[in-house]
């Protein structure tokens, strides 16, 4: 009885989370005529025409490349800068750590829509409009609070004595960070990296504002711009959505154990 209840709740939650994605998947495999049919059941005749159609244009490859490049560079920058900052905040003798952390957090409190206009002007003045670097700069800024906070937490959990031992053993603070702190906090670094990557991969508003051509347009924006003047190509949209979710799923599954370790670290005594 108890087990049945457990599994039904589990099923409900899984269904709630995966439902929309499955719907997209089914839609992407339907022939055009059946697209709007409800309920969204699996079609009798499966077609891959939508997939063929999105990839027939080389633009879509370019757009995926844009997204991948922007998200990867953002992740690397955010983790490098974030871990330096977090290391200082967690292990070095700094004054007013709380104030600094609070200030960092406040950056992420502005609603993006409130910052988008000035940001557009800044990026244009820097000559970075419609480039990867315009997006990378913006995303790194907005993801830093996330990575700094996550990494500070992970570094702070490493006992001070481990850091001090590294110093006595002859490491400079920077060497101690690279050789001891980062490897020991690896689950945390992975967690922060994945979270930043997902943020950069999915971001829409800034990408819409700061890009104008396929030179730098990212996937979410490109998909939103699929609809033509007279029709909305639901099938293509669904196919594209499915395709661009795959890298995220792959990443998460690949590092699943690390991420779970990271998200629950310190919750129980190991």
């Amino acid at each position: 009885m108890r087990k049945t209840l457990f599994y039904s709740v589990l099923l409900l939650v899984v269904g709630y989370c995966c439902g929309p994605y499955l719907w997209q998947l089914i839609t992407s495999l339907k022939p055009d005529g059946e697209l709007t049919a409800l309920p969204p059941v699996f079609p009798e005749r499966v077609t891959f025409s939508h997939y063929v159609s999105i990839f027939r244009e080389s633009r879509f490859f370019r757009i995926i490349l844009n997204s991948a490049a922007v998200a990867s560079v953002t992740t690397v920058l955010s983790i490098v800068i974030g871990s330096l900052a977090a290391f200082g905040l967690a292990k070095l003798n700094l004054r007013r750590k709380g104030v600094i952390l609070g200030f960092v957090l406040s950056v992420s409190m502005f609603p993006p829509i409130a910052t988008v206009c000035p940001l557009y002007l800044v990026i244009r003045a820097l000559g970075l409009r419609d480039t990867w670097w315009g997006l990378v700069l913006t995303y790194t800024t907005f993801s830093l609070p996330l990575s700094i906070w996550t990494l500070t937490g992970f570094f702070a959990r490493i006992p001070d004595e481990i850091y001090l031992a590294a110093r006595v053993d002859g490491c400079s603070p920077f060497q101690a960070l690279c050789r001891i702190m980062l490897p020991v906090a690896a689950p945390g670094v992975f967690t922060a990296a994945i979270l930043v990557f997902i943020f950069a991969w999915n971001e829409f508003l800034f990408a819409l504002t700061l890009t104008s051509t396929t030179a730098s347009r990212t996937v979410p924006v490109a998909i939103a711009l699929f609809p033509g003047l007279h029709e909305i190509p639901w099938g293509d949209i669904a196919a594209a959505s499915v395709v661009v979710t795959v890298p995220l799923l792959a990443l998460v599954f690949l590092f699943q154990r690390r991420i779970v370790e990271g998200l629950t670290a310190g919750a129980v005594k190991g």
Partner: protein, 355 residues
């Protein structure tokens, strides 16, 4: 090996002064221990020697080199921490080799040194394991090995044994002594366990709120404590302290809780109010009345193995004494206690200094 010298070292954290005017020289090859209650500043001293903490004022010398401005890596010290602080992501071999690797030692030397240290500490079988797979004693040994592998000038140990269980602690103590004999390095040791300090060190400094109360050999501290704090801190169980009044100055006669004694002291007490210190092992409790014995009431008995500790009430003052195992004492019983007046210590009641 190096001599360590402190000149007028001071250190505070915020408004709290942790170390005041520390002047001290630790000899080359000496096993020197700082003891004291928690918060007395002993770990801070160690961190200042290591370079993990800067002194606010004063100078620290290794031999003739002032080290105040040297980073920990340049001081050639090694440190063992209470929590061992092994690097969890490295194997035992990598942990041991780490100080050498950071100093860019060539691979063959490194492997040879690691094998040598592993043999010395009995770690050969464990070299490929990670710290998480080791027992407490094994981790402790790895931490020791990592510290001695590069033959540091100074070897610092911050309560290295206090996370081990009682039996292992005694074993590791013996091992430390052996290591020390074989390597002959200067060791500065910090502990709150005075028994550990007595059994290991050449010299001991008793610290209290940032000041050295007394510095000397184990026997010195035990037989000739400078003041009532040291007397109470050194020796287990702690010394009994009983109020007394000086009756005559020369020769000294003291009324100690009703018992008139003439103890041997170096100086005569400045005031008439004194504190008389009697070690529990010097206070014999039994059924027999003998010369100089007085009545006490047994309140508690605590077997110590070869004999029993006995808590008794003497004229309203609780004191602790020792009794033979077969004495058959019962709580509530009225019995006799006796001590030899020449073994007691007399302290000035106001300053706490020994007379």
């Amino acid at each position: 090996m190096a001599e360590i010298r402190f000149e007028k070292i001071e250190k505070s954290f915020g408004n709290v002064t942790v170390i005041r005017e520390l002047d001290l020289a630790i000899g080359e090859g000496e096993f020197f221990t700082f003891v004291g209650p928690s918060g007395c500043g002993k770990s801070t001293i160690l961190n200042m020697i290591a370079g993990l903490e800067r002194a606010d004022r004063g100078r620290i010398f290794f031999d003739d080199t002032m080290v105040n401005d040297l980073s920990p890596g340049d001081r050639d010290v090694a440190m063992v921490f209470q929590s061992y602080a092994l690097y969890p992501h490295m194997t035992v071999r990598e942990n041991l080799a780490f100080p050498l690797r950071i100093r860019k030692t060539c691979k063959e030397t490194m492997n040879r040194e690691v094998d040598q240290i592993a043999a010395l500490l009995g770690l050969e079988e464990l070299l490929s394991r990670k710290p998480g797979q080791l027992s407490g004693g094994q981790r402790q040994r790895v931490a020791l090995g990592r510290a001695i592998i590069r033959r540091p000038k100074v070897f610092l140990m911050d309560e290295p044994l206090s996370n081990l269980d009682a039996r292992l602690r005694v074993e590791m103590r013996a091992e430390l002594k052996k290591l020390r004999r074989e390597l002959g390095i200067t060791i500065v040791y910090v502990t709150h366990d005075q028994e550990e300090a007595l059994s290991l060190s050449d010299r001991i400094a008793v610290l209290e709120s940032g000041r050295i109360r007394q510095c000397g050999t184990a026997l010195d501290l035990y037989l000739r404590p400078a003041d009532i704090f040291v007397a109470g801190f050194i020796g287990t169980p702690p010394m009994n302290v009983v109020r007394g009044t000086v009756r005559e100055k020369s020769p000294l006669v003291i009324d100690c809780n009703g018992r008139i004694i003439s103890p041997l002291t170096e100086n005569s007490p400045p005031k008439s109010d004194v504190l008389v210190g009697i070690r529990p092992d010097d206070l014999a409790v039994s059924h027999e009345q003998e010369k100089g014995s007085f009545r006490v009431t047994v309140s508690e008995i605590e077997p110590a193995g070869p004999f029993n500790w006995v808590d008794v009430i003497w004229n309203g003052v609780p004191v602790r004494g020792a009794a033979r195992r077969d004495e058959g004492l019962v709580p509530g019983e009225k019995v006799y206690a006796v001590f030899a007046p020449e073994n007691v210590l007399v302290f000035d009641a106001e300053s706490g200094n020994r007379t």
